[in-house]
Subunit: 144 residues, 2 copies
Amino acid sequence: MKNSLYIVIIGCGRLGSLLANQLSRVGHSVVVIDTDESTFDDLSPDFSGFRVVGEATRMAVLKEAKLKNADVLFAATHEDNVNLMVAQVARKVFNVQHVLARVFDPRREQVYDQLGIETICPTSVAAEMFLLAVASDRAARGDA
Amino acid sequence: MKNSLYIVIIGCGRLGSLLANQLSRVGHSVVVIDTDESTFDDLSPDFSGFRVVGEATRMAVLKEAKLKNADVLFAATHEDNVNLMVAQVARKVFNVQHVLARVFDPRREQVYDQLGIETICPTSVAAEMFLLAVASDRAARGDA
């Protein structure tokens, strides 16, 4: 890779820590923000990024993470509202080019879309995978 | 569709209710089990399946849902342990042919695999989608 990206990840839960570890491993500069310092225990020993403890909904915390330098922001906390708010601030105030947010409630995806925020909804994805499995089950029985 | 399937869904949260509504709509026979009756409010008015209130880890509840007649079981509660236990019981005791479980912790996927249970891990899927987005971002900048 020629250039590494500067990536800010909000939320160091299962998804956030998984992403932080993988992105750091391949050479990106990663900053992880979480309100709970103990979540950083899930970062691998070779994680070379920065950890910021604090509420990502507070400007001071986002500034500490140098959000204005970020190429990518991932909002991956467990709260859809927090993800939506931080994603919007990243877009509008810090002009981050690529903003992605996890959203658990599939009904909120449209709202995010209208605000220009890319979303990933694990609920919808899991549902599609389950439905595909049923379809293949039916096909295997020759009922399709 | 020639034949409809008999499908038992454990957990009527966002994923469970989404699946129940969609599968019922296309003509499958669906039974949803949840400990909390209020979760059934998320079932659509045209949901034509059955609702069972109770702990899916109790045999009596699974019998009430006629699990032995099921073609497919989806374990979609918010607790990995519950999903794993019910999925195993469905396979070993009720001989359900197709058993799928949601698992949030990616580290548990291997355990499920070894027990012959198909899993869907929303965390892993979301992580892959986020990573793909970063890769496409890098490609678009001509850095790839």
